[in-house]
């Protein structure tokens, strides 16, 4: 059984690109209570932006749909972020996670999952074609005993 988080936030929003900035800023503001460094906050914002942008660009390519975002704090300063959509889904997740793989044409580079992987400690992608995608990312924020 999974432990209960000591704190969490949950947000639902429509897949409009203007919400990308809102989503990453909301998670950064929530994570501030974990006393992260600016670098750690930058990593978290980047990973959230990648996952949310994927839901906006790929999950709902020709329509607007619901995206849900949850950020939870677990023991030992562990931050978990879950981004969920109910869009088109991914047929082959392993292939989608390969660097440079993209179905997005010239406006995308196929590096989103690679960046999420390198900026976070763990990345899990679950998806079903026609049903949607759930991206779960974890990042441990270093504990600092003395002030910075």
């Amino acid at each position: 059984m999974k432990r209960k988080p000591s704190n969490y936030i949950a947000l639902d929003f429509l897949s409009r690109s203007v919400n990308e900035g809102f989503a990453r800023t909301a998670v950064a503001a929530f994570a501030a209570q974990m006393d992260p460094t600016l670098d750690e906050l930058g990593d978290i914002k980047t990973a959230v932006s990648e996952a949310v942008t994927n839901a906006i660009v790929h999950a709902y390519p020709d329509s607007l749909g619901k995206i849900s975002l949850r950020a939870s704090i677990f023991e030992e300063n562990l931050l978990e972020i879950v981004v969920r959509d109910w869009g088109c889904g991914i047929a082959d997740v392993e292939q989608a996670r390969e660097p440079l793989y993209t179905t997005g044409g010239a406006e995308r580079s196929g590096m989103g999952f690679t960046i999420m992987e390198s900026f976070m400690d763990a990345l899990q992608v679950r998806s079903k074609p026609g049903r949607g995608t759930v991206v779960t990312m974890k990042r441990r924020i270093a504990m600092r005993s003395n002030g910075r």
Binding site: G21, T53, I56, E107, R108, M111
Partner: protein, 101 residues
């Protein structure tokens, strides 16, 4: 995203200010292309010092600008790149394709 454009001889500097994400990417690409088409420079410097956030959407913007410059027989480079954007470029290996300072 805000833009500042200065051209000196065949060298153009475009200063970007703001957050370069998917929401801003298309407008940024269009702004860069419009400026390059108008002046046909041989060197394009993208000044990133005012970019307060960038994700993978910025990679496509930069690579497209570089391809456009190469088609003109010129080159593109980045200057003033903040740590957050630099980390994104490095994670994606883009620093091997274009000069990032």
């Amino acid at each position: 995203m805000e833009f500042g454009i200065t051209t000196k001889e065949r060298s153009m500097t475009i200063t970007l200010r703001g957050e370069l994400d998917h929401h801003a990417a298309r407008g940024t690409m269009q702004e860069i292309e419009r400026a390059v088409e108008a002046a046909l420079p041989l060197q394009l410097v993208l000044d990133f010092s005012g970019v307060t956030f960038m994700d993978s959407s910025g990679i496509a913007v930069v690579l497209r600008a570089q391809r456009r410059m190469q088609a003109l027989g010129g080159a593109a480079e980045l200057q003033g790149t903040p740590a957050q954007a630099k980390k994104v470029f490095e994670a994606a290996g883009i620093h091997r394709l274009i000069s990032i300072r």
